[in-house]
């Protein structure tokens, strides 16, 4: 009954099922054809669907993003793979000025149904230009939806929802998650965009985490449970539109909030979550200052010790939460 596949396989399965169901769906990216993708996500899809639907593109990120916009306007549903999320910087014009704004600028008379997939995050030794977490950059832009599934189950369901979606959806996939396994139904299903998920229920403190930090937070929660600290972990899943209600409810219950994310801490997603709680009725329930554990104020370093030091790790989350709950600083 239950079947376990990897996060990468879940993506591939969703892409295959979307292409089977709708001839308008096609994939584009760099080395996604016979090479199978830099992270082997598209794998053998080119053999199933042909080169016209699994298109290897020239190394032209800006151009590809624009082609996706144009094809979406003309009736296709493009799914664009960036080889690394860092390369979004090369395509920001089309993502931010065109994909995000066209619907609005044209008075709601068009949709731009495209999906862009971004392998993100550190931990692979690829250093500063191949390890960033730029999700908050794109989540700052009205008109885009930004999702960050953390499990194979959510990945498949949210990617299928993203392909269905009439608006442009940016999908951030942590590279260290590609080989993680989880239960995934074989049939197509949808997990809604814009809904957070309570990954672990608890009563003493709420962690709102994104992507791989959900797993690190769950691990930290186990350690803290042994010390008698009961942690609730919310997997945010969608950065925009953000499910603020779920966070507010949780904080009212636990009275403490920590935000754990890999992107640079300053002006990152934790700042937005904190502000929303500070603006909400949950503020009056807080028994401690809000804690943010985010990426270091630096590029991602190459040296493996430094690389780990640049993003939150389980031990740091345990210590941060322990201090938050016990009132020590």
């Amino acid at each position: 009954m239950s079947r376990e596949i990897t996060y990468a396989q879940a993506i591939q399965e969703a892409l295959g099922q979307a292409m089977e169901a709708d001839p308008a769906v096609f994939l584009m990216g760099e080395d996604i054809g016979v090479y199978g993708g830099a992270f082997q996500v598209t794998g053998d899809l080119v053999h199933r669907f042909g080169e016209d639907r699994v298109m290897d593109a020239p190394i032209s990120e800006l151009g590809q993003a624009g082609v996706a916009v144009g094809a979406a306007l003309a009736g296709c549903k493009p799914v664009l793979e960036f080889q690394f999320s860092d390369f979004a910087t090369l395509a920001m014009e089309q993502i931010v000025n065109q994909a995000a704004k066209l619907r609005f600028m044209l008075g709601g008379k068009v949709n731009v149904p495209l999906v862009m997939r971004f392998p993100a995050g550190s931990g692979t030794g690829a250093a500063a230009q191949h390890s960033q977490s730029l999700d908050a950059w794109l989540a700052h832009v009205p008109g885009l939806k930004v999702i960050q599934p953390s499990t194979p189950y959510d990945m498949k369901g949210m990617l299928l929802a993203a392909i269905d979606d009439p608006d442009p959806v940016m999908v951030f996939e942590h590279k260290l998650l590609y080989k993680t396994k989880g239960e995934v139904p074989e049939e197509a299903y949808r997990v809604p965009i814009g809904k957070a998920h309570v990954a672990r229920e608890g009563s003493d403190v709420t962690i709102v985490a994104t992507s791989i930090m959900v797993h690190k937070s769950l691990e930290a929660a186990e350690t803290l449970a042994a010390e008698g600290i009961d942690v609730e972990v919310i997997d945010l899943r969608t950065l925009r539109p953000m499910d603020t209600a779920t966070i507010i409810e949780s904080v009212k219950k636990t009275t403490r909030l920590a935000c754990v994310y890999e992107g640079v801490k300053t002006l990152g997603i934790g700042a937005e979550i904190s502000a929303r709680i500070a603006e909400s009725e949950a503020f009056d329930y807080l028994d401690a200052p809000i804690l943010r554990l985010g990426g270091a104020e630096s590029p991602i370093p190459y040296n493996p010790v430094l690389e780990k030091a640049a993003v939150p790790q389980v031990q740091g989350i345990v210590e941060g939460l322990r201090n938050l709950v016990t009132g020590r600083t």
């Binding site: 593109a57 151009g63 609005f104 008075g107």
Partner: protein, 339 residues
């Protein structure tokens, strides 16, 4: 009648391929563009509309000569100087004015303004405020055409300035690699805002760049409707047959400044006057009359009808509906979901 046919027989292919009715409609569109922009300029001066606009006065031949070859199901992507392309592709000037006036009746319900007018129903995927922004979008539309096995085309207007953007390189390369039905129409009006092509390009022509992408590059007199239309007809036919993209460079000139802020410090009055003498509208009128395709009276009637349409359009726009400030975020997402 036989005399008319005889005159027409001596004319270049463009005048033979098109009926007198089609050619007079082309003239009417040129007048509509000219009067539309003069009307918009005047409304701006009088404080009736705000923001900025980029006038294409002097460039009407390239807009009309290019779009003549298109059908409703073909696409265009346009530029910040795009009113002519929009009217050429079949937009209704009164709805364009409504957009300028920021009204709900406008093409973009007043959310886009001059720089973002689009009419997807007529294949107009929109003007664009980003120089070069429309280039890869046109390539994407052409890719969709190819996937859908249609024989339509995507016509991509851009300026000499845009050819210095990276998007130009990426777009032309992809269109050529995939043999997509794109017609890249460069309206070279000599200046990217204030910087001349001589100061911003090491080659003499934008079309010189086309061979680097493995596509034909054609240079035409952008002030001659016939010259533009003949080159575009060939490029469009090539595209419809699946033979790939073409770059057509229309050498032309904007007699007005770049935008409302332009103080004309970078060019001479002599240069402007020289180009005013090559105004494409009287040139086309003279050709129609010389070939016996229109009479003086008909030309006058066309001009008056365009002027009336513009006057009525402005009146329509002035009395339009102002958007509700509570609906600022209405069209950001299809579901209305926000934040």
């Amino acid at each position: 009648m036989s005399a008319l046919r005889a005159v027409k027989a001596n004319a270049r292919p463009f005048f033979q391929r098109h009926s007198a009715g089609e050619l007079k409609e082309a003239l009417r569109k040129m007048y509509l563009i000219r009067r539309f922009e003069e009307g918009a300029e005047e409304a701006y001066m009088r404080g009736l509309i705000h923001g900025t606009m980029h006038l294409s006065i002097g460039q009407e031949a390239s807009a009309v000569g290019s779009t003549m070859a298109l059908r409703n199901t073909d696409y265009i992507t346009s530029t910040h100087r795009g009113h002519g392309h929009c009217i050429g592709k079949g937009a209704d000037p009164k709805l364009m004015f409504a957009e300028f006036f920021g009204k709900e009746e406008g093409y973009c319900r007043g959310r886009g303004g001059s720089m973002h007018i689009a009419d997807v129903a007529t294949g107009n995927l929109g003007a664009n405020g980003i120089v070069g922004g429309g280039l890869p979008i046109a390539v994407g539309a052409a890719l969709a055409i190819k996937k859908q096995k249609r024989d339509d085309v995507a016509m991509c207007f851009f300026g000499d300035g845009a050819s210095n953007e990276g998007a130009f390189h990426e777009a032309l390369n992809m269109a050529a690699v995939w043999k997509l039905p794109v017609i890249f129409v460069c309206e070279n009006n000599k200046y990217g805002m204030s910087v001349s092509t001589e100061r911003s390009m090491a080659v003499a022509n934008v079309a010189d760049r086309a061979p680097a992408y493995g596509m034909p590059g054609v240079i035409v007199d952008g002030n001659s409707v016939a010259d533009v239309a003949e080159a575009i007809a060939a490029a469009t036919e090539r595209a419809r047959k699946g033979e790939g993209p073409t770059l057509v460079e229309c050498k032309t000139y904007r007699t007005r400044g770049h935008s409302r802020s332009d103080r004309n410090r970078y060019r001479t009055k002599e240069e402007i006057d020289e180009w005013k003498a090559k105004d494409p509208i009287p040139l086309f009128e003279a050709e129609l009359i010389a070939h016996g395709l229109a009479t003086e009276d008909e030309v006058t009637a066309i001009r008056i009808s365009a002027e009336t349409e513009i006057t009525n359009g402005i009146e329509y726009a002035r009395t339009g509906t102002d958007p509700d400030p509570n609906e600022v975020t209405r069209d950001v997402y299809s579901s209305g979901v926000n934040s």
